[in-house]
Symmetry: C2
Subunit: 160 residues, 2 copies
């Protein structure tokens, strides 16, 4: 299934290594930033990163999202989303509604409290990301984002 066969060359390890190195850097950079954002969200707003992610996803969709859409968009399992929404619901930040003719599905959306709560956090979040990525100029950021778009969308779910 791979793009290259190894009949002529048993190992093309020089090419191999650069992509592996890129992957490790990508992973470490992302983890470092994610950890810093997690910490700041916790100390400043007493919210976990997964909760913030869910609220961010829902904020973009005023009509709400299906559980399965959330799961695909956030790239986490169905069961995970169930638990997160359960807890967010019991905190009054999110609600399930049964607007469809389809009783299997439930549309999830932010409550008024949830929207207001998220809007506060979103401002800080934007500032933090700008601070943490300040090594990139806006132009560099655009370029790099465009580069990453290409290959990320290969596995991404449509999410809407």
């Amino acid at each position: 299934m791979t793009a290259s066969h190894d009949m002529l060359k048993p190992h093309n390890s020089s090419a191999d290594k650069s992509r592996v190195r890129l992957w490790l850097r990508l992973l470490r950079a992302t983890r470092a930033i994610e950890g810093e954002l997690r910490e700041r969200l916790r100390t400043t707003y007493n919210v976990t990163l997964p909760r913030f992610d869910v609220m961010a996803a829902l904020y973009r969709e005023p009509e709400g999202m299906l559980m399965s859409q959330l799961s695909k968009y956030l790239m986490v399992s169905n069961g995970n989303v169930t638990g997160l929404i359960d807890r967010l619901t019991s905190d009054g930040l999110v609600q399930r509604t049964l607007r469809d003719g389809d009783r299997r599905t439930s549309v999830v959306l932010l409550t008024k409290a949830g929207r207001e709560n998220f809007e506060q956090m979103a401002d800080s979040h934007r500032e933090w990301v700008n601070e943490l990525l300040s090594h990139f100029s806006p132009d560099e950021a655009e370029t790099l984002a465009e580069t990453l778009k290409v290959f990320a969308s290969d596995w991404e779910g449509e999410a809407r």
Copy 2:
């Protein structure tokens, strides 16, 4: 602490957006690749991604690592490492030793079985990463890795 003050401009949102967009792309790309690797490690070798990460870290250090070094290198909490090492130990892939004069510390290293196990997986892992990042030429990968190195190292622990 931030590089810019907002006395003249209350919001510099155009610059803001490009970095946030970059962050979201970075996050989604990483999650997509991570998810694919997780899936392949599970179906092919019946191993979880966190376990693979621990073994990869230990493989690079034949002398072994302290729990705290592992924790810093992998950017996860101490308690997390304890649990992972507990389970890897009971599977015979890892062992704790008390080589120091310091009885607080325990040096963790791969067993023979652990090394052999990891070597098998590492080959596949390298191929998978190359496949998943095949959109990048080796040169592009080098360049991008260098770019990411700069800002990741701001928060990275030294790890050795």
